[in-house]
């Protein structure tokens, strides 16, 4: 690969460090976290922690205001209060926390904003012509502004992968800057769609472009492309975040999204964050899971840890 440089408004030309990644060794390191065996109270703590990191997501063509309201209800009260009350008799039980955010399409933002009002839960929206990003920038910007206006506190944008693979890094970079401006106070998560970037070298470069352009978070995937989040790709992004922090002192957040369905997977991701970026990233301000079905599995495992019994899915709401 060659050196990449981009022009940054107010700064001038900046170079993006060339930083090769060896695929096999990166895969091997990422896999090593899957052999971590998390037991007893550390497991319970991790499960509780993971719930607080969930961006509870629905991104379907068939989404409706009703569906979104239900999801918001689940976000606020992951477990029906009656069941939660029954659990209080168990010594290890602590109240189930609310999730970090709800993530919806721009059209659903007004309904979600209303449902989440006063809950303290963030409202994320996938603006910028999600999931392909194949629309002109002015439309993306207005998409973002509209979502923010209707109450989105976080914007999950997609980068233009076509432009990236074409080598038009300045275009990718400029779009992120413009979207960041349009975000105002809303936090910006930049989705790289790693499943389309294909190589870890590309993922590293895209991560760095996004961070330099002002991303608050970098995020793996839309969930619409396979593979979505993987351990190795997340590992590569975590290392980029670490290096960026070392260089600039700025802490950038990380969000793997798509494909994380089980508590076991989530705990392995937490181990990976713990052993790469460290404890300062183990909170919802710095780390999120983009997921939907994961939440119920986390609850199931918490109940198992607390009561010693296995629970079936039906007692949890399926939203």
């Amino acid at each position: 690969m060659f050196d990449v440089s981009v022009r940054k408004p107010g700064v001038g030309k900046i170079s993006i460090p060339h930083y090769p990644i060896d695929m096999v060794a990166a895969n091997e390191r990422a896999a090593s976290f899957t052999t971590r065996s998390i037991k007893a109270s550390s497991k319970l703590d991790a499960l509780y922690c993971a719930i607080e990191m969930v961006d509870l997501t629905t991104l379907e063509g068939m989404d409706t205001p009703g569906k979104v309201r239900q999801l918001c209800g689940k976000a606020i009260n992951p477990v029906p209060p009656a069941i939660q009350d029954k659990m209080r008799s168990f010594e290890k039980f602590r109240p189930i926390p609310k999730v970090a955010a709800v993530c919806v399409y721009p059209n659903m933002v007004p309904y979600a904003a209303e449902a989440l009002d006063g809950s303290g839960i963030q409202l994320a929206s996938v603006a910028t012509a999600f999931p392909a990003g194949q629309l002109p920038i002015d439309i993306k910007v207005s998409d973002v502004k509209r979502a923010v206006k209707f109450g989105a506190t976080e914007i999950d944008m997609v980068i233009d992968r076509g432009a990236f693979l074409e080598g038009k890094f300045q275009k990718v970079f400029d779009e992120i800057i413009k979207v960041k401006e349009a975000c105002g106070d809303a936090h910006l998560k930049v989705i790289l769609e790693t499943g389309e970037l294909k190589t870890y070298d590309n993922v590293r470069l895209a991560s760095w472009l996004a961070m330099e352009a002002g991303a608050d978070f970098i995020k793996t995937s839309t969930g619409k492309v396979s593979p979505a989040a993987t351990m190795p790709v997340t590992y590569v992004m975590l290392q980029a975040i670490q290096d960026y922090y070392e260089m600039t002192g700025k802490m950038i957040g990380m969000k793997p999204a798509g494909g994380i369905k089980t508590s076991k997977q989530a705990i392995h991701y937490l181990c990976m964050v713990n052993e790469t970026l460290g404890q300062d990233w183990l909170n919802p301000e710095m780390f999120r899971f983009g997921a939907s079905s994961l939440l119920n599995d986390l609850l199931k495992q918490i109940f198992k840890q607390v009561t010693g019994r296995y629970y079936y899915d039906d007692i949890f709401s399926m939203d």
Binding site: Y19, P20, I21, D22, V24, A25, A26, E28, R29, T35, R36, S37, I38, K39, A40, S41, S42, K43, D45, A46, C49, Q239, D243, E246, M247, T248, G249, K250, M251, L270, C271, N274, E275, Q279, D280, L282, N283, E285, M286
Partner: protein, 494 residues
């Protein structure tokens, strides 16, 4: 890299965060250990004629696990006789295919009993269960499976030549990979049609004796595999026995030389897999994060008790600071402790003696100057433990730069050009292995071709496979183990 601290989120901000500490995750499998173990000779467990036993100790706790037969010359003689009898009889009458079937069967039994064997290996030797479970045992089974298939194809080992087995092979193995070294020795020897007398290291006899049990379970003809336990004198008796046709030794260079000196006076064939002080070279154009992983697995795998450990890190001067910074951060994540805990990365030092040796060498190193850095790990109160550490910029003639420490101790120095890296890497009497980290393929090939070492890991380190020949140049010994090349030392070429 310059650090321009700015506003936004920085670590100074106090916020609710999750202190993720891993609770103990001990391997739950309980392995049965008998009070006393005998030699395995002629298909039976027999009491030592010496009548003596020695303790085998769990290095993580200091507790005695069992008593092991301390074999004398007579015990060794009985084992060699049994091996000779088997070689001259039943074993040589079998076709290669039938011989191979026994090895396939042994491979299968090892796979089935791998959990038991892994736990036993960890108990007796102190290596993390993660490694005995995920590295040692799979490789042990693979070595038997791989070599099994050679038993009926020996004419392809040396094309154009006729080959025949050598006879009785005396095999002496070390304590760092007890069962794996046994597999490296026994599998090719049997595939080639020989019979063996194997002496495990006195610190780690238990898995070899469990392997004897597996031979029995597999129905292997009596005397094909014999295990005699004991220390140096037992090994010496094996080396000196007149009916032993070949000696295969893995261990320290000093002992190896002594064996070669004695066995050299006879017609015995020799293979020697000895020590190393292998260089791990990191160029500025390497994939740095992966190189750091390679440095860590290079020197801290198996507590650094690895003959091919990448114990000399040579890093290009321009990236020295960033590599050391990343390395320190990474080393802090190494979990030192109970080998049976599934999250332990660095287990117990194999013995008190070895711990003392490591400590003495490190002390000597500290006297000789250079920067010393060690992870501040909380070590278990009992047992033999040592936290990972490194020295930076010691002179090339310093103790730590030249001596094989055989522990989690890394020596770091720098180079400026590829030629300098090659010269420094080759500046050792050893020649077992070397690592190269660069994303430039032509450079990798150039450097690989100029390093005087038997195994070159480019952009990886400490990888092993039954199909891959292993062995050294120079004072790291001769002969290869693994792959087609590994059969040759067990065959007579006619």
């Amino acid at each position: 890299m310059t650090k321009k601290k700015t506003k936004t989120k920085t670590k100074s901000k106090t916020k609710k965060t999750f202190k993720f500490e891993y609770d103990a995750a001990p391997e739950s499998f309980k392995v049965e250990i008998e009070e006393k173990y005998y030699n395995f000779i002629g298909g039976e467990f027999v009491k030592p004629k010496s009548g003596k036993y020695f303790d085998t100790v769990n290095p993580a706790t200091g507790k005695v696990l069992s008593k092991i037969a301390l074999s004398n010359e007579q015990d060794v003689d009985a084992a060699v006789k049994a091996a000779k009898k088997a070689f001259e009889g039943e074993w040589s009458n079998l076709s290669g295919l039938e011989r191979g079937k026994y090895l396939f069967r042994i491979a299968r039994i090892i796979q089935e009993r791998s959990r038991e064997l892994a736990v036993l290996e960890t108990l007796d030797g102190g290596k993390p269960i993660k490694e005995s479970r995920d590295v040692d045992l799979p490789l042990v089974a693979q070595h038997f499976f791989y070599n099994a298939g050679w038993a009926d194809k020996l004419e392809y080992v040396m094309p154009g030549k006729e080959v025949a087995p050598i006879g009785v092979c005396g095999q002496i193995i070390p304590w760092n990979f007890p069962l794996l070294m046994l597999a490296w020795k026994i599998a090719p020897a049997l595939a080639a049609g020989n019979t063996v007398v194997l002496k495990p290291a006195e610190q780690t006899s238990l898995t070899a004796l469990r392997f004897a049990d597996i031979c029995y379970e597999a129905g292997l003809p009596a005397g094909v595999v014999n295990i005699v336990t004991g220390a140096g004198e037992t090994g010496a008796a094996l080396v000196e026995h007149k009916d032993v046709n070949k000696i295969a030794f893995t261990g320290s260079t000093d002992i190896g030389k002594l064996i070669a000196k004695n066995a050299g006076k006879t017609k015995k064939k020799l293979t020697m897999e000895l020590g190393g002080k292998s260089a791990n070279i990191v160029f500025a154009d390497a994939a740095i994060d992966q190189a750091v992983e390679g440095i860590v697995s290079g020197i801290f795998f198996n507590q650094g008790h690895v003959c091919c450990a990448g114990s000399r890190l040579l890093v290009e001067e321009s990236i020295k600071d960033v590599v050391i910074k990343k390395l320190k951060k990474r080393m802090k994540q190494i979990r030192v402790g109970d080998p049976l805990d599934k999250n332990t990365d660095l287990g117990a030092i194999n013995s008190k003696d070895q711990l003392k040796k490591i400590k003495d060498l490190v002390k000597q190193g500290q006297k000789e100057g250079g920067e010393f850095w060690q992870v501040e790990s909380e070590l278990p109160p009992r047992g033999n433990f040592f936290a990972p550490c490194f020295f930076v910029d010691q002179s090339a003639s310093s103790t730590i730069s030249r001596e094989e420490v055989f522990g989690p101790v890394l020596s770091i120095s720098t180079f400026r050009t590829p030629d300098e890296a090659i010269t420094k890497a080759n500046d050792t009497n050893y020649g077992l292995a070397a690592g190269i980290w660069s994303e430039k393929v032509s450079k990798v090939h150039e450097v690989a071709s100029k390093l005087k070492a038997g195994v070159i890991w480019a952009n990886t380190y400490n990888k092993f496979d039954a199909a891959s020949p292993f062995g050294g140049f120079k004072e790291s010994g001769y002969g290869r183990e693994g792959g087609r090349h590994g059969l040759l030392p067990y065959l007579e070429v006619k």
